[in-house]
Amino acid sequence: MIDIIISHYNYWVVIMLMMAGFYTVISRGNLIKKITGINIFQTSVFLMYISIGYVSEGTPPIIAEGFTKYSNPLPHVMILTAIVVGVSTTALGLALVVRIKEAYGTIEEDEIHDQDMSL
């Protein structure tokens, strides 16, 4: 029983990262920290995909002499695409934060909220 739990340690990491990231997004008021939280959240998803793509006793999916068992390349491909999406989102988010800082003078959510309400 215990060894089943320990052998699935990567999934436990996935869950912890997912929760950490999600919590950061919700609880932190700093805009950049929110984006970081999203990044952590997405990273956990990448880990999950790669974990499910692993074929036991498989090698990395590059054709080579003498190897017949390869890990599944498709999740790797999906993750690369998802990483790209994640990077674009982060870049866009950070660009927005820069513009918000220019417009509001702060990147704390509650201060921005106060500024908006006081108009």
Partner: protein
Amino acid sequence: MIEQNFSLLLVVIPLIAAPVVAMLPNGRLPWLLVLVVTWLCLALASWQLSVVSDGDIISYELGGWAPPWGIEYRIDAMNAFVALMVSGIAAITVPYALRSVEKEIPRQQISLFYSAFLLCLVGLLGVAQTGDVFNLFVFLEISSLSSYILIAMGRERRALTAAYQYLVMGTIGATFLLIGIGLLYAETGTLNMLDLHQRLEPIIDHRTVHTGFAFIIVGIALKLALFPLHLWVPNAYKYAPSAISVFLAATATKVAVYIMLRMVFTVFSSDFVRTTPTHLIFLMLGIFGVVFASIIAIFQTDAKRLLAYSSVAQVSYMVLGMGLASALGVTATLIHMFNHALMKGALFMAIGAMVYRVGISRLEELNGLGRQMPWTFAAFFIAGLSLIGVPGTAGFISKWYLVLAALEQQSWFIALVIILGSLLSVVYLWKVVEVLWFYPATESGLSVKEAPVSLLVPMWALIFANIYFGINTELTVNVADTAVKLLGIPPYHE
């Protein structure tokens, strides 16, 4: 054969045009290219619909790789319907955008704006055409990212925070969708929608599959602005540039409804919906959404926010149709998807025309504008009647089917909720009508002239569409019927 290429061209042409537009000098040229591209897309989408409307399927393998290994574009009646809707709204919005964008976007950003617009169109059309779930995720994110940009280009600084909030919520939604897809892939090993359906059947009771399903539903619900995950909508629609409010309100959430339909009924099945609590969740959230969003709309002091909450309520109608999980119910959802795009597009165009003249959309600033801008007001009025569901308009057809679907299943409560929603929409629409017509104009308002022709013509084109599709429903009803049959949803029987 050539048909299949056309279906791909629908996505590729705007994709190639986007960077070209970004490189054009600012001025009218970007707009012109975008106009040509969107009208071309409309032509392709109409042609596509005419091919599949009686039940045929177009199948295109990207790169020549056969499914399920390769990505497949699989067009049936429902895809073509959504593609027609998206390209139609885009084609109508671009003429509208000429003057509206010139006023609201700084000149040096115009070509970038149109480039982002084309990217958004690419994303939405890609979602509509694809038959592969991961491809769907990618295109969804393309459209979302470009809509964050487009919203952030609004005039006020709150547009930035609105875009940021949408970004955070939208990305979480998309990531949930990704998790769900991952779990399904882990169980079946395929990403092709039809293949997934076949491979899921024997293992449909696995907990992983249910978890994947739940993640997918929540993820899409965020994109769909299903109550209570709708918080990004009011600000996003309000602070976006007027042309973008029109475009997004009429397409973004509807495409998310389409994704929900695809995932729930094609990948899974209507049996799954009925045997799990899914239909109850849809029904409950739909009911809450209709009632609460309509009530909140009544108390809004800003015209665009009011319409945004109205959109949330209307989307909840569509979810109600899904929750009824019968042929008539999903037909109602599809018809309402199309009709609502027409209605909301026209409403936002009318408000946008007023914003073009006065600069603000707060109700107090719009006092008496109806008398200064009679054509715009008449357009708003008729589109409003369509939203309420007065016979002779497209909105009546949707309401008819929805209530009929509820009555078919003896769900009196749901029928009453739908009718209550109509009554509540009378209240909040009449509030705007009264402000526009009866209240004395503000000083600055008195000098306002009617909106320019380039804003009026697309508006009235949508109004005519509303009335046309309220009287001649051949297109909408037939296509919806075919789509429902292909989704494999049986008519209701006890």
